[in-house]
Amino acid sequence: MYRTFLSWRYLVARPTNLIGITGIFVAVGALILILSIMTGFLDEARSGIRGSLSDLLIAPVGLPRLAHDGREIPRSPERLMAILDADPRIEAAAPHLTWAGMVTLTGDDAARSEVYLASSQNSDLTLVKFVGIDFDAEYQATNLREALEREPSKTRSGRLRGKRVADADDPFASPPEYERHGAPDPVVLFGEQLYSRLGLMRGDIVQLATGVPDPVSGQVVMNNAFFCVGGTFRSGENEMDLDRVYVEREELADLIGDKREYSEVLVKLHDYDKDGPALRDDLRHNLALMGLARGYPSEVRTWEEFRGPLLGAIENERTLMGVMLSLVLVVAGFCVFAILSMMVTEKRRDIGILTAIGATRGGVLQMFLLVAFWDALIGTILGTAAGVFLAFKIDPIERWLSSTMGVEIFNRDVYLFDHIPARVDSLAVTLIVIGAFASTLLFAAIPAWNAARTDPIEALRYE
């Protein structure tokens, strides 16, 4: 009883304790706020990384090759798709045909070609990744529709105002701006960043070119075709928005001379967390048995396996950030240590008196630990409240601060998000609270131990 009573009295009577409480308050608040923002950033980045990846990725190695039983693995995805459609765990599947190639703006304008050839810079020839898709399957299996309908970002140029594609229900339809000459050109969709870098407009004509090995001569021949720019998409994933173009799968197959009809299948599950790895293992086994894949484990991967190294790097970064920021807690612990050490010195006589009237060493130890405990309790409660509040309100707060001070604190153009992302992770908050208590009590243990060791005779001897 006296321990609680006296520790509280000491706390209240000594304004210096406020410094310790403030230290813990600031440390806990800042940690929660910063880690919440970090978590928010990582979540956004994570979904960006996942992007159009869907849950599972099936990419038979080296199509078309022989399966283990000597059969040729089919070039068309129909059989594979039928198997996937029959599995109740699978919500949707979308075949992709990917091929590397180039985009050039020369179009059908001979004069521009002349200018291009005379130019010493060849920035007009841009390397891209062609992705051939069936848009209705793609809509079901990935977030492509979202990427096509996402609000255009406020970029420096005003080009992206208005809708990304004329009609999201039929993204490969010719846009209204398209001036048709003769037979209609197929439509191509550009990643937003590539689109604005190339200075494209909807309705422009571009040329897609690629090299295809010729099975007869063994040489690589160039194939090219004119396409009409149908619009843009914004996946939120930098890499994709910068170098990916979508065309219809049939058109791409046509461009590469029907050498291949698909290169991978994206699979979306009803419940990835529940079925993901099990389905992956089933597919690895079954597809090899049916001669649809050669049976390498890497042919069927979860999206996490596919992006494993990058996700690992992000996790590492977060952990590192947490560890570094925890040092703030240690500093707060130092603060409490200093204040409590001072208090123990100051209260030497009180310790002697308490011992003389029957307090034990353990009691004295607990009493000073309790002072630190109150510090930690008050500081943590206030800090958690402030940190969580700020994390939830960081976006309006930043806007208000920016407009009041006239300085842009968070430049939304730098990132792909138009708000400051923050997610309060209850586990992180719990760990921070535990950390704050542990650090404070650990540092307080030293002066408290010294207090307990105080010789009552020495303490009582003289004033």
Binding site: M1, Y2, I353, A356, I357, G358, I457, L460
Partner: protein
């Protein structure tokens, strides 16, 4: 537990308040204390044998440096003897564990110091109930605290401090502080009261009233009082006086008991 909160135990002796029952409440046997200073052993107490009898007023005198304080620390269980034993009501205090010894100090011995030694953050009332709070640290502590407060209020009121209950030590005069300290020493009704020059920091008029209060309480509660003093007038009011010199008890001036009888 609750017996310690009851009213003072009735006088045990057949001779009234100022008499002893002859039974030793506190016994030191061959208490020796030496300190290690710079590798040398310095013996401060050379085997002290003394007894504090139930209900007696025992004076302790001696020049400074004679070892009075050191002996007092041993009697008060604050210091462990190098050799010898300290027995309180038949219990060898240093054979006990630290917790039991702290409890013995808490319940059996009341301390009154020359410098009052009140806790500056606490009010007079809170200072008085502090030993009680130490004694009752477990469940039901809240109920005990209420009882303690009532008892401390009565005690302070009887000491003429009814108006001073909520005052901090800094707001009290020397005499008032010492009265609070005496109340604190008596709150758990210990059988032993140790007063270390309780009037050393007070003027002569206040000293007289404090001594009167101590002796009155001793008589009313049949306390075993050990009083360290310089004042010959004070020793005259004691039943027995021990004189210390160079870490030894020189003689036992036990005559006052005979003169009373």
């Amino acid at each position: 537990m609750s017996d310690t909160l009851d009213t003072p135990r009735p006088a045990a002796g057949p001779f009234g308040g100022n008499s002893t029952t002859g039974e030793a409440v506190l016994v030191t046997h061959a208490v020796q204390r030496s300190f290690q200073i710079g590798g040398r052993s310095l013996e401060v107490l050379h085997g002290i044998d003394m007894q504090l009898l139930a209900g007696e007023r025992l004076g302790l005198v001696g020049a400074s440096g004679a070892g009075k304080s050191t002996l007092l620390h041993h009697i008060g269980l604050l210091d462990r003897p190098t050799k010898g034993t300290v027995t309180i009501e038949g219990t060898d205090a240093w054979a006990l564990g630290a917790l039991a010894r702290a409890s013995l100090r808490n319940k059996k011995i009341g301390f009154v110091f020359q410098q009052f030694h009140l806790l500056p953050e606490l009010s007079a009332l809170e200072n008085v109930i502090l030993p009680g709070m130490i004694a009752f640290s477990g469940f039901g502590a809240r109920k005990e605290k209420r009882k303690l407060k009532a008892k401390a209020t009565d005690l302070l009121t009887s000491f003429g401090l009814a108006e001073r209950l909520g005052h901090r030590p800094a707001q009290l005069s020397g005499g008032e502080k010492q009265r609070v300290a005496i109340a604190r020493a008596l709150i758990l009704d210990p059988p032993i009261l140790i007063a270390d020059e309780p009037t050393g920091n007070l003027d002569s008029e206040t000293s007289a009233t404090i001594l009167d209060l101590i002796f009155a309480e001793q008589e009313r509660r049949t306390l075993s009082l050990l009083l360290v003093t310089h004042d010959e007038e004070v020793t005259a009011r004691c039943d027995r006086v021990l004189r210390m010199r160079d870490g030894r008890i020189e003689d036992d001036l036990a005559d006052s008991i005979d003169s009373d009888a």
